[in-house]
Amino acid sequence: AQTVTQSQPEMSVQEAETVTLSCTYDTSESDYYLFWYKQPPSRQMILVIRQEAYKQQNATENRFSVNFQKAAKSFSLKISDSQLGDAAMYFCAYRSALGRDDKIIFGKGTRLHILP
């Protein structure tokens, strides 16, 4: 079975600084997708960034980028120029690209605080 591990329950960063959230995962599959989701107090999960395992190039979305290390099964999220609106829970997640298994597997999350 696939697992996703986030070892940092909480992190803090000064506004305008850069922060990196860590994530490791375990799978025996060769084809899959990895995601970072943001969950503000409104509870609605928002997709931040997506990485396809077969693509070697790291995904970027404006101030958000990932460091995908497939051999190490590591998938960290870097947030540059942190803003107050970035404060939220961040979940790393896995989704198989094979067969009928279509669920998303989430880590336990990292709560990110932005210090003004």
Binding site: V4, Y32, Y33, S42, R43, Q44, M45, I46, L47, R50, F91, A93, R95, S96, A97, R100, D101, D102, K103, I104, I105, F106, G107, K108, G109
Partner: protein
């Protein structure tokens, strides 16, 4: 356009009661997913539908949980004989179709509290 909506936003019930949680997906989305998020945890998969049929219900914890989607649009998650351990946020998501290349769009969830 309208996103995924869930009703009620909050539900408080007593142990042993029956509850229904409703999910309205984005119009035209054929795939619909239910997840449960306990306090301090990430969401955990319960069940997903492709059209009217349940394609995978492997995440339902026991036979007290049941979900339907009779017309391939709105879905209802039903919990019988509720227990305190059922207290959680129940999230619904929909996507254009099944498959990892189709983004799942999440609703705001229903917070269920069982007293």
């Amino acid at each position: 356009g309208a996103g995924v909506s869930q009703t009620p936003s909050n539900k408080v019930t007593e142990k042993g009661k029956y509850v229904e949680l409703r999910c309205d997906p984005i119009s035209g989305h054929t795939a619909l997913y239910w997840y449960r998020q306990s306090l301090g945890q990430g969401p955990e998969f319960l069940i997903y539908f492709q059209g009217t049929g349940a394609a995978d219900d492997s995440g339902l914890p026991n036979d007290r949980f049941f979900a339907v989607r009779p017309e391939g649009s709105v879905s209802t998650l039903k919990i019988q004989r509720t227990e305190r351990g059922d207290s959680a946020v129940y999230l619904c998501a929909s996507s254009l179709s099944r498959g990892p290349y189709n983004e799942q769009f999440f609703g705001p969830g229903t917070r269920l509290t069982v007293l």
